[in-house]
């Protein structure tokens, strides 16, 4: 346990300076979050187990010195189960970095959960709530040797019980000193045959039970994968409809599920749905739109768009704070229309390709530059990384930013094969809607906790020129990062290509 802790501490020290979290999205389950626990500024990574039940690893690093202990508990995000804490898990403190802590928590349920973190130290005590979307991604594999062991044990038990029963029936009622008669022997054979059949029946029954349980679990895994949407076009109006109902399985309750209706969707940083259309060769075009709810569908009046095939990623959050990612494809004709307005935005750039240069600077429409302060040594998969950016005006001086949907920036991370799609914010990789719920619960009058400075604070109209977004790219590959900021009332977008080892 010590070595991984030290390694993780080094990685954290080296790479994670500022952060915020991310949604479940596509192919990216772990949670990265930055926030204040009272006087302590914490960076939190939640490494979710692929199998639920499973143990999640919480890595917490304090940017504020003086933290002496970290405790974590797991609760539901809303409703029953969100009030009563279990016995807290005392995080292990790194001997290399005394401000780095690792805690392990069992995740047993699916859905919207939260990890409450309590930091204690020289500046007092502070609390933090991190929303976590809990869902199984795979079933627990059984190693070949374990499978063989199981078969051997079951066969041995099956084979051995038959002669034991036979011997017992044949001789147990025979008077001391006498030998078993033909009747006893005949009865023993009959009982042995019956035992063999009964044992085989039991084995078959157990196998059926096992298979059924495995199928139920696999169904839960499937239900919680990104769900497909069906699209239709009515003039410029794009209609999105779920291909199948959104069903949230309930862990341990067999095939029992809870259906999520579109009426259950709540606004996430101002919009019910965040729709991304990615098209063109090499992810060279991107639209970030916000469709409106219409019954069980969502509709979006499309702006002027080039015809072609587009990948579609739509993100919604249900009323319990669980994020759902909807995926699909849509073929569009050349559309005439107005330019995106309000929070809607579009971007068009050069295609991403294996030969794309790994630039760390991109020109913005008004001549300013967005500069990515890339970590030395390049990006590595599954390593918490602080994606740090700064904006320089045409004159090379730091440029101020305006909030774009309440945040300094949005970053979309896409793998070239679309196996990963993540929509990140400096204010949190978790859905803002879920974060609001978690914060409201944390600072409810009954909790006794006091809001930290800056938590749930009003966003100023002008923001600093630099920002950071924490994220761990889930697997190696070629990625495109699309960063969106707002300046002078205009949404500005830039893209960076990078190879992740």
């Amino acid at each position: 346990m010590k070595r991984p802790l030290h390694c993780a501490a080094f990685i954290f020290i080296a790479l994670l300076l500022f952060s915020s979290p991310l949604l479940a999205h596509v192919g990216s389950a772990d949670v990265y979050y930055e926030g204040d626990a009272g006087p302590y500024h914490l960076f939190v990574t939640v490494k979710l187990p692929p199998v639920i039940p499973g143990i999640a690893e919480m890595q917490v690093r304090s940017a504020t010195p003086g933290v002496e202990s970290i405790q974590t508990v797991l609760l539901r995000l809303t409703g029953p189960g969100s009030k009563l804490p279990s016995a807290p898990d005392l995080a292990q403190r790194s001997k290399v970095d005394p401000q780095f802590f690792v805690s392990n928590l069992w995740f047993m349920e699916y859905g919207a959960l939260q990890v409450r973190i309590e930091a204690r130290g020289t500046k007092g005590t502070g609390s933090l709530a991190v929303p976590v979307a809990s869902f199984p991604r795979q079933s627990l594999p059984m190693s070949p040797w374990f499978r063989v062991l199981g078969i051997v044990i079951l066969l041995a038990l099956t084979v051995s019980i038959v002669p034991i029963i036979g011997g017992v029936v044949r001789e147990a009622t025979v008077a001391p000193g006498e030998v078993p008669g033909p009747h006893n022997r005949r009865r023993a054979r009959t009982v042995m045959a019956f035992t063999l059949i009964a044992t085989a029946g039991l084995l078959y029954g157990n196998r059926t039970l096992w298979t059924r349980e495995a199928a139920t679990y696999d169904r839960s895994v499937e239900l919680l994968k990104p769900r497909r949407v069906i699209t239709s076009l009515d003039g410029n109006r794009l209609v999105l409809r779920l291909a199948s109902p959104l069903l949230l399985p309930i862990a341990g309750r067999g095939k029992v599920t809870r259906e999520i209706r579109m009426a259950d969707v709540i606004p996430d940083h101002g919009h019910l749905m965040h729709l991304f259309l990615v098209g063109g060769p090499g992810m060279s075009r991107l639209w970030h739109l916000h469709p409106e709810r219409a019954g069980e569908t969502f509709t979006q009046r499309l702006p002027a768009m080039d015809g072609g095939q587009y990948r579609l990623f739509a993100e919604i959050v249900d009323k319990d704070g669980f994020p759902w990612t909807l995926v699909g494809e849509v073929g569009l004709p050349q559309l005439a229309g107005e330019a995106p307005a309000g929070d809607d935005s579009q971007w068009q750039g050069t295609p991403s390709s294996p030969s794309s240069p790994e630039l760390d600077s991109a020109l913005l429409p008004d001549g300013a530059r967005l500069i990515w302060e890339k970590p030395g040594g390049g990006l590595k998969a599954n390593v918490p990384t602080s994606f740090r950016f700064r904006v320089e005006g045409k004159d090379g001086k730091p440029a101020t930013l305006e909030p774009y949907m309440g945040m300094a920036a949005h970053m979309i991370v896409m793998c070239s094969d679309f196996s990963v799609f993540a929509h990140l914010h400096p204010s949190g990789s978790v859905p803002m809607a879920a974060l609001d719920i978690a914060q409201a619960g944390l600072f409810a009058p009954s909790s006794g906790a006091m809001p930290a400075m800056g938590a749930m604070a009003h966003v100023p109209e002008q923001l600093p020129s630099s920002f950071a977004i924490p994220y761990g790219v889930p697997h190696p590959g070629r990625y495109r990062l699309v960063v969106q900021i707002k300046r002078s009332g205009q949404v500005q977008t830039a893209a960076f290509d990078t190879l992740v080892q």
Binding site: L75, P80, S86, W106, L113, V168, E171, P176, G177
Partner: protein
């Protein structure tokens, strides 16, 4: 204690010879039998504790104290059985299996203990794969239960053989031990049928079908094998006492959930529900068995089986209604206890009955199956009991 006469099937010479032998050589119950019985008692305690642990604290790792107790129980039985097998010298009072000779019960108990131990890694895998909370009907739990039951059958077979080869106070003590293990077996059976017999299903016929399918086998078999006039009643009392002890004592132990989310404020161990009122059909079974005396086993089964179900229904049904009232939400009846992960009161009303059979005819058909099952299981119990009364090795 009143003990009925030895069955006619035993030849007087064999019985007296064996009794003389046991009386002469052993004035007390062999230590290996005590070890085996202790193992079985530990298995029961560990199992009950494990339920309470799962429901109150959460199974945060495999090697919890209750799990260790259950595995130790299996080891106790294994050691006792192996000792009996290794030290068996007398070919006249042993049976042969795999070229070894030992009392019949020793082989059964050893097999059971091995099955219990073998179930552990698979139980661990299952929980890690499909859920940490209490789930009774799983293949590893099935193997554990079969193994535990086999240890009990082995111990009871061993005791039955010794009862017939002993006299006086020693014999009476062995009968009491046999009844105690029979009571533990009934506890195990009620745990296995628990998914169908929890309070919410007590106004469904499936609850009575589940009881009819398993309880008469053990209760009547051991009651008969004990040679005790009120054998079934004693077992019913033993089961009730064990159930009440668990329900009343576990809550005295402080506990707090280690896993979350937590739906109920847990401050102590949460026990299983109030024991089933099996004492009522147990008394009824004894009375009928006494009155039917030497009638054929099938006729006895025909009388005892339906009476068993009817009397249980007559007792449990109104009692279940009472359990769902606020008057039962206290330490005596324990209907206010909920596991930390149980969304009782939030996602469902725990004080409402759920109807498994949705029509009157479905209810009647299921109940009819319960009567049929009770006749068959009573017959099996009588046959097994009769066999145990004849066991000599």
């Amino acid at each position: 204690m009143s003990v009925t006469s030895v069955p006619q099937s035993l030849t007087p010479s064999a019985v007296s010879r064996a009794r003389d032998e046991v009386s002469a050589k052993k004035a007390s119950i062999p230590w290996s039998i005590w070890l085996m019985a202790s193992g079985i008692a530990m298995g029961l305690t560990g199992g009950s504790w494990d339920f309470a642990w799962h429901m109150s604290i959460g199974r945060e790792r495999f090697w919890t104290l209750p799990h260790m107790m259950v595995q130790s129980a299996a080891l106790f039985v294994a050691v006792a059985s192996i000792h009996q097998i290794v030290t068996a010298r007398d070919r006249e009072t042993t049976v042969g299996v795999f070229g070894l000779r030992a009392p019949a019960g020793s082989f059964l108990a050893l097999w059971g203990s091995v099955a219990m131990i073998a179930s552990a890694p698979f139980d661990n895998w299952w929980h890690n794969a499909y859920g940490l909370d209490v789930q009774v009907a799983t293949p590893p739990h099935g193997l554990l239960s079969i193994g535990f039951f086999a240890t009990q059958v082995g111990a009871m077979t061993l005791l039955a053989s010794l009862i017939h080869r002993s006299t006086g106070a020693l014999r009476a003590r062995m009968v009491r031990l046999l009844l105690a293990i029979g009571s533990i077996s009934v506890v195990l059976m009620t745990v296995l049928i628990m998914p169908a017999t929890v309070r919410m299903y007590m106004h469904s016929a499936v609850c009575y079908l589940a009881v009819a399918l398993v309880i008469p086998i053990v209760m009547i078999a051991v009651g008969q094998a004990s040679l005790h006039k009120w054998g079934c009643t004693m077992i019913g009392l033993g089961y009730t006492a064990l159930g009440l002890a668990a329900e009343w004592l576990w809550p005295l132990v402080p506990a707090r959930p280690k896993l979350g989310p937590v739906y109920h404020d847990i401050t102590h161990l949460i026990p299983l529900q109030f024991p089933l009122l099996l004492i009522v059909p147990a008394v009824v079974a004894d009375v009928i068995l006494q009155r039917t005396g030497s009638r054929s086993a099938w006729l006895k089964a025909l009388c005892v089986g339906p009476a068993f179900v009817l009397s249980y229904l007559a007792a449990q049904w109104p009692f279940a209604s009472f359990l769902n009232t606020p008057a039962a939400r206290n330490w005596i009846f324990g209907t206010g206890y909920f596991s930390y992960f149980d969304p009782a009161g939030f996602q469902y009303d725990p004080y409402q009955f759920r109807q498994v059979e949705h029509t009157a005819s479905a209810f009647a058909i299921t109940l009819a199956w319960a009567f049929v099952a009770s006749i068959l299981t009573t017959r099996v119990g009588l046959g097994w009991g009769s066999w145990m009364r004849r066991v000599q090795r």
